[in-house]
């Protein structure tokens, strides 16, 4: 199962190669600086793939896998994201599958700044006040990153 997740994650990188010539160029030149966002976008793709495959046990497996792979080297170029950042990315990908929206990697890369911001989830105060829900937040977040 962990192998399925890792494969889905790596296949998402292939989507990135197809979606962005700049990404390929900077990767090949060794000048890629925002490694983290591309890794998190690959987690997004893995979440989508696992949802579409109908694997209900994927989440706990992903958590266990990603817990061993996440890192806290905040200032390192090759920082891949913290545990919760990676889980949130995976969940957003699952939401994309839930709402029937195919992964649009080109749009995700274009809107990667918004993607990182939205990984924080909905504001706790809004949730408690009932002015938003996870479902509403996820739908709006997807609309923003797929724009």
């Amino acid at each position: 199962m962990a192998a399925d997740l890792i494969l889905a994650h790596e296949l998402s990188h292939v989507l990135q190669f197809h979606a962005s010539a700049d990404f390929v160029a900077s990767l090949c030149a060794g000048t890629l600086r925002d490694v983290k966002v591309y890794e998190l976008l690959a987690d997004f793709g893995a979440g989508y793939a696992m949802f579409r495959n109908g694997n209900q046990d994927a989440r706990q497996n992903f958590v266990r896998t990603v817990s061993s792979l996440a890192d806290y080297k905040f200032t390192a170029v090759r920082h891949h994201g913290t545990v919760t950042e990676r889980l949130n990315a995976f969940d957003m990908g699952q939401a994309s599958g839930y709402f029937g929206q195919e992964v649009k990697m080109e749009a995700l890369i274009r809107n990667r700044v918004a993607f990182l911001r939205l990984l924080g989830g909905p504001e706790q105060r809004k949730l408690e006040a009932g002015s938003t829900t996870f479902r509403e937040f996820a739908r709006n977040a997807l609309a923003e990153v797929y724009r």
Binding site: V63, Y72, G120
Partner: protein, 181 residues
């Protein structure tokens, strides 16, 4: 006294004044499950055991745990229930650096594994918790299949730092009643 307490959020907490030890930072399945067992007996039992004799509870259940009554949250007022029990551990206030967060993050990675070992298939679902709006930290909140009167038991585990109030990095494990189904 008892009547008024039932409207309050009860938090069993300890903020240690000494440097935190690794075993307190790590997720303790035994401690959390004992809190869950208490919650499963109902809020009246929580009040009776924790609030009625906090010293006894501290000494006989969770060594070093202190009992504190917080202002009730909107949720607690609506439910008229003590909504949660928690264990909190923290280091004395100091300048918190990225290295401290890196260390905390690595501890969280270990704790998350213990969290899943502890609950596994008892979990209905779970989601990460972000503290980025008002402070820095991370956590996870799980909804257990166990219920009390139609309310699922929830467990939250993680750490945070409130930059506005120069707190230490605080580790918290909270168990409580979720919304009714």
């Amino acid at each position: 006294m008892m009547k008024s307490l039932t409207a309050l959020v009860l938090t069993a907490a300890t903020i240690s004044s000494v440097a935190v030890s690794r075993d307190k930072v790590d997720f303790s399945c035994h401690d959390v499950k004992s809190m869950i067992e208490l919650l499963e007996d109902g809020p009246e039992d929580v009040v009776k055991q924790v609030a009625d004799d906090p010293v006894d509870y501290r000494d006989n259940h969770h060594i070093g745990v202190d009992v504190r009554n917080d202002a009730p949250s909107a949720n607690a007022q609506r439910n008229n229930l003590p909504s949660e029990l928690g264990l909190l551990y923290g280091q004395r206030p100091k300048h918190v650096t990225d290295d401290d967060f890196a260390t905390a993050g690595e501890s969280f990675k270990r704790g998350l594994g213990a969290f899943y070992d502890c609950f596994g298939k008892e979990l209905l679902t779970e989601t990460p918790v972000s503290y980025t709006r008002t402070s820095r930290g991370e956590g996870i909140i799980g909804i257990l299949k166990d219920t009390y009167k139609g309310r699922h038991i929830i467990v939250q585990y993680g750490y945070f730092w409130d930059s506005a109030h120069a707190t230490p990095i605080v580790w918290q494990t909270i168990v409580g009643y979720g919304q009714s189904e």
